[in-house]
Amino acid sequence: MNKTAVIQPPKKTTLRKHFTAALLGNPNCGKTMLFNALTGSNQYVGNWPGVTVEKKIGRLQSNLEGELVDLPGIYSLSTYSIEERVSRDFILNENPDVIINIIDGTNIERNLYLTLQALEIGRPMIIVINMMDEVKKRGDTIFCDKLSGILGVPVIPISAKKGENIALVLKEVEQAAYARPIPPKILYDQSTYDAISRITQILAEEENHHNIPFRFYATKLLEDDSACITLLGLNSDQCFRINRIIEEYERESAFGDRQTMLSDARFCFIEQVVAKSVKRKYQQGEMTLSDKIDRIVTNRWLAYPIFFTILFLMFMLTFQTVGAFLQDVLQTLFDNVLSPLLTSFLLSVNAPDWTQGLLVDGILNGVGTVVSFVPLIALLFFCLSIMEDSGYMARAAFIMDKLFSKLGLSGQSFIPMIMGFGCSVPAIMSARTMPSEKDRRLTILLTPFMSCGAKLPVYGLFAAAFFPEYQGYVIFGMYLIGMVVAVLSGLLLSRITFRGDTMPFVMELPPYRLPSLRGTCRLTWDKAKDFLIRAGTIIFAMSIVLWFLQAFNFHLQMVTDNSQSMLALIGACIAPVFIPLGFGTWQATVSVLSGFVAKEAVVSTMAVLYAGQAGGSNALVAGVQAAFTPASAFAMMVFVLLCAPCMAACATIKREMNSWKWALFTYAYQIGAAYIVSLLVYRICLLLF
């Protein structure tokens, strides 16, 4: 008999001044905007421990010391998905002093489903109805006082976009944080109510269960929530009695199963609530503006052209026009302004050679590498944010889903993968918005197979050297190989590693909304900052290490001849590994290793190692032609294509996976796949040609 309670009583708030609020709500209801409005710029972004779900905490803008935790957008407090588990665990274990439940005023019925569950927990709560501007536009009226009276908590109408009523929210939060929790006033039908009450009584028998939300757990037990059963540590007698109550309950209804009955009870109650507190102008059946737009956007013939046009524009903006311009500006800044400045400064103070190397080639170069990614990230996320907030992203996933379901992914994987053709770093970062952790991890793993822009010079070089008449085909072939490997890997991994808990792909298609410029700029800034701080530090450190390895030999003296450096010797040690692939020389190995810094560096390293002192692209081509054969050139291209991406992307992968185990698995898989495919390519080419 297990008498010890597994659940601990809630922590007492020690200081009266400091309180914690939790922001809870459905996805797509403007939660992020409200979070930003309530916290201003005092935010911290991380991950919930051990999972790929983003965690945001901010300081409330108010007189009292309050912290706001942004919980992931969820539809229910089940333990079905990682997001739900994270949110539920936070509310039940960390005991926030007040829950701010944000609901979408244009979609009250579904939003209230989560609200009811949160109310049952019994912690002080306020309800914030967002999108009131749209509600007014539709001609509907929500009687917040009535709603407040029925549910027993304050209800505040706001429009986060327009900034209406935010101050009132802060005030209510402060008041609620110090209020006493009140029992929920939800009136289910009699038999449901009885069942819940009786189960609650059984749960309350344990003496050491103080201040634990019995009512909530009772409803969860009624719903057959298995996580609850183990958590509560009930003995077998209690389980037996509870089961009997549930069985009686099931017998009373035509539905006959507990999950359905309880949710039906909830929706019935919600219908009553809405009938009393919401007045609608139009019947729900009529075609909205969103439907009209969708007639075109997801139209059978127009959907794909529209989609690819939008993607094309996004790429043009990021990689060609604005993005390229910004990158050039930054490059000029570093190469032509800062670098000479620093060099001349060091010369003027007669600093030793190695400091010049360290500061200019190591540190400044490192900083330059990191900063060079920022325009890409900013622009891509700007575009993505607009697509997401406007609601178009869901339509894109909708039309691409069929292709991806075969790979064990969903249509939402498409955007990260397509971005991978530009740059893996923002592509991997964008996988964060995907709903299922399994999808997220698999997508992050597969995205680098989409040949990023930085690898293009490598193909260009080898294609020019060995396949001059077929350059276009060869390069296209590389992209194709990347996609094929991604597809095959998806098929393979979704059956082996990422098996199990296949979620039904039920995705909301939110109404089209005009994204707010402020919100979009805010998100863009947040992502860029996030990258600079997280990945930036790692890349920076790595740049210095790599500079060090190539500038010094093992006696720690500076070298002028590259072949004497530590990097070269390390390359020479590793080189034999590549002999079966046809390019087992130390120069080739070092070039591939330099790809770890940045894939562009492969060509520049090869320029140094193969073109020699003469330099120039002709010399490089000649040098390459002398050192490789067509087959080995092809093999090396494939290896560069598939192997683990540059350290910026690797750092991002680690960050997004939030687990060394998964990050290392990803790198290992990619390097392994690169090796195997490259080997096959080389051997087959030798056989055929």
Binding site: Y75, S76, S78, Y80, N107, E109, R110, Y113, F255, Q259, T260, S263, D264, F267, Q284, G285, E286, D291, D294, T298, N299, R300, W301, A303, Y304, A394, A397, F398, I399, D401, K402, L403, S405, G411, D501, M503, P504, F505, V506, M507, E508, L509, P510
Partner: protein
């Protein structure tokens, strides 16, 4: 129950409905976590679902219920058993 050949099959799952048709959910032919997911998204017995359209490649389908729209794969829609609503062409 075997149906006679030649008679058109009555739609009995959400997958059988065509765009423009409505159905009322009778029960969910699935258990555990998948059922939880449907219920949490509002797909419960008694709710009326209107099929808006199919994606260009035929899958998934877009449905409208309780005032909002969801995208759902046909293989999952098959699990949702419905009864054809009397009046079609209305949400």
């Amino acid at each position: 129950m075997r149906r006679k050949r030649g008679l058109s099959r009555q739609p009995d799952s959400l997958r059988d409905l065509r765009p423009g048709q409505s159905g009322v959910v009778t029960h969910l032919d699935v258990n555990g976590a998948l059922k939880r997911r449907f219920i949490d998204m509002g797909i419960t017995p008694g709710v009326r679902i209107y099929v808006v359209k199919e994606a260009p490649l035929g899958d998934p389908i877009e449905i409208n219920l309780r005032g909002y729209e969801l995208s759902i794969r046909k293989s999952d829609a098959f699990r949702i058993k419905i009864m054809l609503a009397k009046d079609v062409d209305q949400k």
